[in-house]
Symmetry: C2
């Protein structure tokens, strides 16, 4: 597997574009389109929030269709909590693309991110759709990655190539979301605002594509947290158009595993970009839990630690306060023997068998924690289960961003 340029337009057959539709107050690009030249099978997972935005509800419905051709996405407005008007507006947004490109209405998926409870300006969108369609290009990934940004400070995109039975398969991805980030996305369920698009030219059945997306997300996007707040709009889409001409993946055999491996790599890479760019963040924090009874236990504990405001403030302050790791690990609702637990902060073991190390090199750890990446390992010493979560530190800037943001 190799990393290549081109993001979501790296795989064969995909085009993208982005324009300024005047939805964002800033006047920055805020409307983007991802298009596949041939019918693609699609899968999507969505926020598990009870309050689901209208575009999420529409995409869940439209995903029942056999094939898809386009995804239209806006930033600056979540189109959430707008009742039937919101549902009608999401339908209109998809309809403009379907009409303009002569596609079936259900072949178009939609996503929105931005403020909750304000009506989506569909007239502005309608007027800009022709320009959006005319701007489609095979180099459009970067424009799309930029237009979906809200409080993000950098674009997030990546692509990889992997060989499958002699054929080269390409997978591309782009995503946004650095606040209200604690996704738990499942098939046809909930909400938070991260939005991600994955494209691939692999040939695969819709059922296997759905399975691969869920499996990959559970070890990547569903393991990141910026602030512990789940959005109403989290959406992750994958489109697969089969142009790589590989023997189509129809079951969980060897080809599926190779494809899943590449997809996981791509999803983890993007998920880490999101966590690293978390609102106000100065450091990326990786929490690896091993020695748990099951992988599920390990993931639950890793994710709990990733939401500890106290730990994240300590890391912002570059103080190796491992007591906050222990306290958080112990509060995840998962039982384990505390007297078997070890904790490592970067290069140093700081807790051994549930008891603090008196002799670790505090200066070494203090120096380590001044870096841009902080790695924390918790070994429960009770089994083979493992899991990894990613977060960022918690700064005064996070509070500034989210207290000075006005409805």
């Amino acid at each position: 597997m190799i990393i290549v340029k081109g993001g979501v337009t790296a795989p064969k057959g995909f085009l993208a574009s982005a324009i300024r539709a005047g939805i964002k107050k800033s006047g920055n690009p805020d409307l983007a389109l991802l298009y596949c030249e041939t019918p693609a099978v699609a899968a999507g997972i969505f926020t598990t929030n009870v309050f689901k935005a209208s575009p999420v509800r529409l995409s869940i419905t439209n995903l029942r269709n056999r094939t898809h051709r386009a995804i239209v996405v806006n930033s600056g407005n979540a189109n959430c909590a707008n009742g039937r008007q919101g549902d009608a507006d999401a339908l209109s947004m998809a309809g403009y693309i379907a009409k303009g490109m002569a596609l079936g209405k259900k072949e178009v998926l939609v996503a929105s991110t931005g403020i909750i409870g304000h009506r989506l300006p569909v007239r502005k969108i309608e007027m800009k759709v022709p320009e959006l369609i005319l701007s489609l290009t095979i180099k459009g990934s970067s424009d799309l990655a930029g237009a979906i940004m809200t409080t993000d400070t950098v674009k997030k995109e990546i692509a990889v190539k992997v060989k499958l039975g002699g054929k080269v398969v390409t997978i591309g991805g782009a995503a946004k979301g650095v606040g209200m980030i604690h996704p738990l996305m499942k098939k046809a369920t909930k909400h938070a605002t991260m939005i991600g698009f994955i494209t691939t030219d692999v040939s695969i059945s819709k059922k296997m594509l759905e399975a691969a997306l869920s499996d990959a997300a559970d070890e990547s996007f569903n393991m990141i947290s910026v602030d512990g707040d789940m959005s109403t709009n989290d959406s992750l889409f994958i489109l697969a158009n089969g142009l790589a001409d590989n023997r189509s993946i129809r079951a969980k055999g060897k080809d599926y595993l190779v494809f899943l491996g590449a997809l996981k790599f791509l999803c983890i890479a993007i998920a880490k970009m999101l966590a690293a760019d978390g609102e106000g963040a100065t450091k990326l924090v990786e929490i690896n839990v091993i020695g748990a009874k099951t992988d599920r236990d390990a993931r639950v504990i890793a994710r709990k630690i990733s939401t500890s405001n106290l730990l994240k403030c300590a890391i912002f302050g570059e103080d190796p306060n491992w007591g906050r790791v222990a306290a958080s690990a112990g509060s995840a609702g998962v039982d384990f023997d505390p007297d078997k637990a070890d904790i490592y902060m970067g290069p140093a073991k700081v807790l051994s068998g549930g008891s603090s190390m008196k002799t670790f090199d505090k200066e070494k750890v203090r120096k380590y924690i001044k870096g841009k990446k902080v790695f924390i390992k918790v070994d429960l010493g009770s089994g083979e289960g493992s899991g990894t979560a990613w977060t960022c530190d918690f700064s005064k800037e996070y509070v500034a961003i989210n207290s000075e943001y006005s409805t």
Copy 2:
């Protein structure tokens, strides 16, 4: 029921004292003693954290004793993650009091709060115990309430009197804890650092006392959150010495309910004091959920909302961002019909039947949210279940306090 002065030394038979033992770096009082002149029945609930501090483990064991006489507590050191040495040190701390006052070793309960992973300075404590015992007074509640403070800015104490079958029963309380506050305390289980003491001269069986403490805590201390972080040391004790001479409460009859009502009132009053004094807080936030299918559902949702960093930042910024209330309510893992949900911020209905109100008086809400107390109501419109949680806003000062704190 009336509110009276005197805190934990208001009920008959209780004395308290506090001194400086040199455990806190600041040199402030850090060692306190609560003493009952006659044998009292006791109950305690503790953090449900897997990592439990040594004093928590010892108190759980000692609570198996039939009666108790004293509780000794230190601030500045949590005596947590210190292994067998920590357990031995907690035992020593209780032992000094037992020896100095000629009590049974198991008649003494212990609590600690402060930094994790540093050895408790038991020699300092041993040398100061005679002074601590000599300082006991029936006006000692305020000294005790001061000595247990860590990042607290005000003392928390209250007492109430209630009539039970013609006899006046007094209940007093004192507590600390404004950071690492998200307690979930149960009988003989977990940890976070809030520490609370309740005294009463009611005559009651140990079994009924345990039941009353759990019931009262579930609607008060177990419903507050400052930062979502559960401590390893949370402890809430109640001592009842029977000196009020009421007909002893042995079952859940009328007297039990009157006593429970007064106890709940006292616990809610103290819990709100803790939330209002949350690290860096400028406002107390009360979240009331009604119309849920069950009380449990309502409490889970209220508590989830109380941990929303985004909402708490918005309240710090005095911005009525109710979308963050909706997003958080929907992410609690409790199913409800979003199209039946209403949300109120103070005087204004902002969401009606899952759809944003276009007409509410934004200026009125903006003015309301500038006050020191913010009241949020969520009506799910689906049943009779209700619950209330308390939290505070989230300020840059919280980040400062917890990033500049050094291990």
